[in-house]
Amino acid sequence: MVSGGLEVRDLTAYLFTKRGAVRAVDGVSFDIPRGKTLGLVGESGSGKSMTCLALMQLLPRPAGRIVAGEVLLDGVDLLKLSERDMQAVRGKGIAMILQDPTSSMNPVLKVGYQVGEPLREHEKLRGDVLRKRVIDLLRQVRIGAPEERMSAYPHELSGGMRQRAVGAAALACNPRLLIADEPTTSLDVTVQMHYLSLLQEIQQREQFAMLFVTHDIHLVPSICDFVAVMYAGRIVEQGEVEAVFTRPAHPYTRALLKAAPRLDDESDSLEPIPGLPPSLIEPGAGCRFGPRCSHAFDLCAGAYPPETALEESHRVNCWLHGRPA
């Protein structure tokens, strides 16, 4: 494992509500080397957004709490840091982009001001030096006429430009990890295409690790090197993109791959995934996908399947692959 990058071990975060503890993130482990991207795929309720919040230690209070695990960024366990030290990490060591660019920006502050905020906070830049950096950042994210656009307000930019401005703010301090939580979901598809290529280009240059969260599994191969599929708070399969996409092992992964109509796919009927995701309060002992799985058999309800290594870095939690001797 090359030094640098993100290592997450058994991250567990619960939401404590009156009805019980919601196991939003239940023992999640993955690595993201520097300069590489991991796609975290799951539907709503899978825990992917909670995982992002847990990494940033921004779980909703007072209900959310990290219960166990390690989050190592370049060797330092973030979970052991004090809140003050963690604040120094947020925006500088780790940056995050959210789904909705409209609410990511303050509507009454100019774009240039907001893009420069991390620089002001972490690098203490001011005045002309700050201005030049901001213009440079805006240019890097391919926003035309940055000198004028700086003085614009968020609503004067298109959705795609807003999202790029948000990206500029995120990348201002050269973070070592960028968490992108569904950054293209609210963008038009052609805008999305450009945005993803832009992200890749910047990543090639700056070599940060990227966690790309999405509900659309088909976005993953265009930008990610690795992929992890999440269901009901746990990762059920992960590995290199090529491996997981050409040889998907977990039935849920396969179902996700087949579940969306594809333009280049001539097959005329789609198979939906029956049923609904389980409650995260009492998920039960067995495999959490079991009740919806067309391949389920007797072992599946009894115990949670352990991790099985299929090939170099391709792992799956499924009794179909990990039958005990």
């Binding site: 539907e43 709503s44 298109s158 959705g159 795609g160 430009m161 038009d188 598809v189 052609t190 805008v191 999305q192 295409m193 450009h194 290529s197 890749q200 509900h215 659309d216 599994i217 088909h218 976005l219 993953v220 191969p221 265009s222 930008i223 990610c224 090197d225 993109v241 996409f245 050409t246 040889r247 998907p248 396969r254 179902a255 996700l256 791959l257 087949k258 579940a259 969306a260 109509p261 594809r262 333009l263 280049d264 796919d265 009927s269 789609l270 198979e271 939906p272 995934i273 609904l276």
Partner: protein, 347 residues
């Protein structure tokens, strides 16, 4: 050729924004410009476009939620603004809608049964127990239990709510349903369930659909014909399978390219990929609205707006380059820009 249920001629809608300063002119937004449309009974037509294309405004115009600035909407040949109240009632009964957001589509304080019954109650088609029966039937047709009529919307999931919205649209036995992004807010696995439901319903009842979406794949899955809109105009139209597999207009080609996932690092050579970001309906470019982004634009594209021309039976395109072989070559490119990821393990 079967009857036309709904049609539009030269439909145009412009909005006026707020004046930026006291003596200037208020900005004009050309949301929809000169759109013609014909929806026959039993036909499924998709309308594809991104934000700013005018597809939602088009839906609202057809549904009489907005008045056109010019042009006519016709219901079974009669202009809708000339309809007397019985005609209006018939229109409402015949043309229904399903919208994108399942969370705001249902009145929070009404029970599901009442929500689904509303079109019936309002049109006074049925009364009393007949209404209850029809509601129960509608709920069952969309895959919900009849007992859910007693529940409130907040007790249902997004997918279930959208089914309720569909049940309500079906209640009055309409001939046409306008669906504006009906599955975009749903999870991927639920999306398929709803798309399949829509397909079944169409096959069973011979409903006409006007299916509006930015997602080319859903449109191809559900629709026979497709209209592609860009900045308020229809720029390409034809059989869905042909248009989406081998698009002729550069914008449609761009859409197709964006819709097909590519592997990391490949497929960026296509000149379409360099196309700049979207225009907006506030500052419409001269001539062809797409020319600033079009890698093939010629001087004529800046001067003159292209008129729709017939390329083949039922196939139209508005582009000056429709004769050029360049488009054919690039249409082929756009076709295989994606790599198939069908694993041998999949059936």
């Amino acid at each position: 050729m079967s009857d036309i249920v709904l049609s539009a001629e030269s439909l145009t809608k412009t909005f006026h924004g707020r004046k930026r300063w006291l003596f200037g002119r208020p900005p004009v937004i050309h949301a929809v410009s000169n759109v013609d449309l014909r929806l026959h009974e039993g036909e499924t037509v998709g309308v594809v476009g991104e934000s700013g294309s005018g597809k939602t405004t088009l839906a609202r115009l057809l549904l009489q939620l907005e008045w056109p600035t010019s042009g006519t909407v016709r219901f079974r040949g009669r202009a809708v603004d000339e309809l007397a109240p019985p005609g209006v009632r018939e229109f409402r009964q015949t043309v229904q809608a399903v919208f994108q957001d399942p969370y705001s589509s249902l009145s929070p304080r009404m029970r599901i049964g009442e929500i689904v019954a509303e079109p019936l109650v309002v049109s006074r088609q049925l009364a009393g127990t007949d209404v209850l029966r029809r509601v129960a039937e509608a709920l069952e047709r969309v895959g919900l239990e009849a007992g859910s009529a007693q529940r409130y919307p907040h007790e249902l999931s997004g997918g279930q709510r959208q089914r309720v919205a569909i049940a309500r649209a079906l209640a009055s036995s309409p001939k046409a349903i306008i669906l504006d992004e009906p599955v975009s807010s749903l999870d991927v696995s639920i999306r398929v369930q709803i798309l399949n439901l829509l397909r079944e319903l169409q096959a069973q009842s011979g409903l006409a659909y006007l299916f509006i979406s930015h997602d080319l794949s859903s449109v191809r899955y559900l629709c026979r014909r497709v209209m592609v809109m860009y900045l308020g105009r229809v720029i390409e139209e034809g059989p869905a399978a042909a248009v989406l597999a081998r698009p002729k207009h550069p914008y449609t080609q761009l859409l197709r390219m964006a819709a097909i996932p590519r592997w990391k690092g490949r497929g960026d050579q296509n000149p379409l990929f360099q196309a700049d970001e979207a225009g907006d309906t506030l500052n419409l470019p001269s001539g062809c609205a797409f020319h600033p982004r079009c890698p093939y634009s010629a001087p004529v594209c800046i001067r003159e707006r292209p008129v729709a021309r017939e390329l083949g039976p039922g196939r139209y395109m508005a582009c000056h380059g429709y004769e050029e072989p360049l488009h054919e070559a690039d249409a082929r490119h756009a076709g295989d820009a994606g790599v198939s990821n069908r694993s041998p393990l999949l059936e």
